[in-house]
Symmetry: C2
Amino acid sequence: MRVISEQQLDDGVLERRFILGDIPGILWTSPSGPAPAPLILVGHPGGLNRMYPRMAGRARHAVAEGFAAATIELPGSGDRPPSPDAEQARADLRGALAAGEPVTDDIVDRLVLPLADQAVPEWQTALDSLLALPEIEGPVGYSGGIISIGVRLAMVEPRVTAAVLFAGSFVPRVIFEDARQVTVPVQVLLQWDDENNDRQQALDLFDALGSTEKTLHANMGGHTGVPAFEGDSANRFFARHLK
Amino acid sequence: MRVISEQQLDDGVLERRFILGDIPGILWTSPSGPAPAPLILVGHPGGLNRMYPRMAGRARHAVAEGFAAATIELPGSGDRPPSPDAEQARADLRGALAAGEPVTDDIVDRLVLPLADQAVPEWQTALDSLLALPEIEGPVGYSGGIISIGVRLAMVEPRVTAAVLFAGSFVPRVIFEDARQVTVPVQVLLQWDDENNDRQQALDLFDALGSTEKTLHANMGGHTGVPAFEGDSANRFFARHLK
């Protein structure tokens, strides 16, 4: 992990951009807070620069509550080499939606599974480096982004001990099986009228999660309309489970 | 409204038991807090003395957050005269459940509608008296109890400007129509595996509510297993909308 830039934001948060192998990432920490802090991994749909304003907001909020926060770019997104297979799956998805045809399991599998297969070990590698820093310690929470990545990371990575999952993307059937093996506390966010997301599928995925402590927060509005108070709620959830 | 007893609890909360006409009630206020406070009506399934420990806990929590809290007995419950029709409906409900038969609309209507028809004006009368006290002012929130009463009170009573509703009881079809006319912010609590409650019906009722700001909080466990952190969450919801 190589830090390539460092700046102190106006609220005192230290923001470091880094490269891990060939994967860009961002780390937010408090220079003044009690070190070492528990870590929240900031999930996203891909495209660090495009998503930066919203992610930085979530991260700074988390740092203000005593956490460190970090994210890495997803495979095929942002400045990383594009994946022709993923591009094709995305084109097929757009085509099906435009034609009013059903989005087949095949399209969803091609869209999500290779991405999750590649991203999850990358987040685990990032954890190795991040947890080696003196200002960060476990436990680790994962928050938001593509829910299939969050579910699988929560399933396979024992250092992730709590997760806020955003039910806002297509979910391959195999991920429902993964969900049954998730046992850490989870808080699932659902936008009730999410134009990109099937509500019943989201409820079924919530039901499938194996965790004994799981909470669903459904709010009105579309995909990007998650209310600001859910940021507070996520921080309180992580405070209960990571501190 | 006639105060019949008054005591200061160990956390400094002033608890007054009162009679309003022939309806017993309880009022919790802070003797030291900034007066006058917004009011939270503490809903319940009937039986003030039976429900006292849990209700007093919720009320004291609310008072600690700067609210006043009050409740009144439901028609036919506790020390109030029993309703033969309601007793018959309850017996029919128990009979249907014991026989594994469906709970018919007729049973649900007889169980809930006369209760709501009588209770809602009583809560409104209580509001008249409570809001006349110098230590209480609006706005008013309604929290918990029988969801049909909460929905109808939120629909008909303009002084109620926010409601936390507990989806934990049978809902007559006509209440779904009432729900469409509710416009105040609502937070709906659902116990995912509530043995007394149909999950899909609860989701449908949440969907039916006309409020543009509505949030569903679903948690694991049975009817009485609402997690303690939902008390904090309810207080924050009311703080957003009543302060």
